[in-house]
């Protein structure tokens, strides 16, 4: 700085970015201290979407938690469903049938694809690439068609049940998936052309929001953001759940841990997830989709109207809830943003005593100031997009 800058009266500009600001998606507030365009200091305020998830869970039965998990990471609700169901099953000690495992893998991966689409689309839109945004919204729409076919809902699916899934794969699902993936791959290629080699886009995201691997671990990064730093930690590989150990897929890793690496990791994960879905659809065995434990499983509608025991069990599970044995467990799945952990405490009653979610984007958001300090205002945009903070999950 020259002498004139010292002599002149100058002060930092303190500016409030959000919570109702286009980049903050309505659920986070940045308090910025700026020197010109450079960020001197940043405070992050979250909680604008705190909806009392845990309190609601503690006041409902174990089954009634399922719809609330949909709305944690509302971009990939099926993964949350699966994560919660697996956690309760671990608490009870259920092993679900093979076919159910495959269906859950398919559902999770479809959800992951749509999550990454949304994330990249939003990221592209916010750096000004509106066309790329709409291409991926269109691709996501196609994937949602599949999800709708599977469970009848587009966004909040409520598809997985403790000890199984709501319904079997519909007829023609495999063919439809093939069609959809064909179109999705084409749109993926379009977006790839629009962004990956676009000099302006690369300039915006490369070397921005860098997180070195050791610090990323210390800050609790997981998921694509950690893999972008070069650490191949993926729950699907490290603690294989369901049938991920029988699937052939790769875990893409980045080198630098900047926003461009995060973008590339997500782009590649879309492809890998498609591979998993295709493999799962090939290998899926026939058989039941629910465990044969009437005190835990959700009775099928057909049985309820034809069998008296089913009706009784249905009545009991709905009114009192299932009753897992007292104890506590922690179970993690690979969410779209990272490790999605459920810590459940049961006191033996029909309601969860404690249902804690380990939100993957919570520590990521906490590290925002670290990643953008010293950068420009404009750097907040891609960084915040690439950490993919989802209000429902971060604030719960």
């Amino acid at each position: 700085m020259s002498d004139s800058a010292k002599d002149l009266h100058s002060e930092y500009m303190v500016i409030n970015m959000g919570p109702s600001h286009p980049v903050t998606h309505g659920t986070v507030k940045f308090l910025l201290t700026l020197e010109g365009e450079t960020i001197i200091d940043m405070k992050v305020d979250i909680g604008f979407l705190h909806r009392g998830f845990e309190k609601m869970c503690e006041n409902g039965t174990w089954e009634q938690v399922m719809p609330y998990t949909d709305r944690l990471n509302y971009v990939s609700p099926l993964i949350n469903n699966v994560g919660y169901a697996l956690a309760v099953e671990k608490l009870v000690g259920i092993d679900v049938p093979e076919r159910c495992k495959y269906i859950r893998v398919i559902a999770s991966e479809l959800s992951r694809i749509s999550d990454h689409y949304t994330n990249i689309a939003a990221g592209a839109m916010e750096v000004g690439g509106f066309t790329a945004f709409l291409y991926f919204v269109e691709a996501r729409e196609l994937v949602w068609d599949l999800i709708e076919m599977l469970c009848g809902a587009r966004v909040t699916s409520n598809y997985v049940r403790i000890g199984g899934v709501k319904s079997d794969l519909p007829d023609g699902f495999k063919d439809k998936t093939r069609d959809v993936f064909k179109k999705c791959r084409k749109l993926w290629a379009d977006v790839n052309k629009l962004l990956t080699k676009n000099r302006i886009f690369i300039d915006r995201v490369r070397n921005v929001g860098i997180m070195p691997p050791d610090e990323a671990i210390a800050w609790g990064f997981t998921g694509p953001c950690l893999r972008a730093c070069g650490i191949p930690y993926d729950v699907r590989k490290f603690h294989p759940y369901l049938v991920y150990d029988q699937m052939d897929f790769e875990v893409p890793v980045g080198e630098k841990g900047d926003n461009f690496d995060r973008y590339l990791v997500r782009m590649e994960e879309i492809n890998q997830s498609m591979r998993i879905v295709e493999q799962a659809l090939e290998k899926i065995p026939s058989g039941p989709i629910n465990v044969n434990m009437p005190e835990y499983r959700w009775q099928s509608k057909e049985d309820i109207s034809t069998r008296i025991e089913s009706l009784i069990f249905h009545f009991k599970t709905v009114t009192e809830g299932i009753k897992p044995p007292p104890g506590e467990i922690y179970s993690a799945v690979e969410g779209a943003n990272g490790e999605l952990g459920f810590y459940l405490v049961s006191d033996g009653s029909g309601k969860p005593y404690k249902c804690r979610v380990r939100p993957p984007c919570f520590p990521l958001t906490a590290a925002m100031p670290k990643m953008v300090k010293g950068g420009f205002i404009a750097d907040i945009v891609p960084t915040f997009d690439m950490i993919n903070m989802i209000g429902g999950e971060c604030d719960r």
Binding site: I46, G47, G327, E328, R356, A366
Partner: protein, 161 residues
């Protein structure tokens, strides 16, 4: 037994600090005294055979009616050995404070703020222990079992409890 290496090492090193340990459904759990929490965590993080470098989760469970009332639960993960452990420490209502572990894992910063916000546990030595999910004018700690679920404290607008 390989699975219990963490517990065994902890027991060998901090014999009198470990109140209890169990391994329910494969989850290794140690309940420790809160006085030696920081030393235990530094040991877990730095020991060559443990290397718990991830502080995955921090939460609190409110056992209303029991004494001590609260349990602070830490979930750690070791990338090098692909191992998880749960450390718990008990905190009474009258003296509900534990040492902050932000100096060991920066990721604990927000988790501790959240625990403070929702359960009112004070983390001693935390750089900025303030409310995070709720607003400053909020009275009480909503996830405590004695907080009524529908007790609203609006900042603006009608209070239709």
């Amino acid at each position: 037994m390989e699975a219990n290496i963490t517990i065994n090492k902890l027991k060998a090193r901090f014999a009198e600090s470990i109140v209890d340990a169990h391994s329910y459904r494969g989850d290794d759990t140690a309940i420790v005294k809160k006085e030696e929490l920081l030393d235990i965590f530094i040991f877990l993080r730095d020991d060559k055979e443990l290397l718990y470098n991830f502080m995955m989760d921090l939460t609190v469970v409110d056992y209303l009616g029991k004494e001590p009332r609260f349990e602070v639960v830490y979930h750690l993960y070791s990338l090098a050995y692909n191992r998880r452990v749960r450390i718990k420490t008990r905190v009474s209502e009258s003296e509900c404070s534990v040492d902050s572990i932000v100096s060991i894992w920066p990721s604990a910063n927000w988790f501790e703020r959240e625990a403070f916000d929702l359960y009112g546990i004070v983390f001693k030595g935390h750089p900025n222990l303030s409310r995070i999910l709720l607003y400053d004018s909020f009275q009480g700690h909503p996830l405590r079992k004695d907080y009524p679920i529908k007790k609203r404290q609006p900042q603006i607008g009608p209070n239709n409890n």
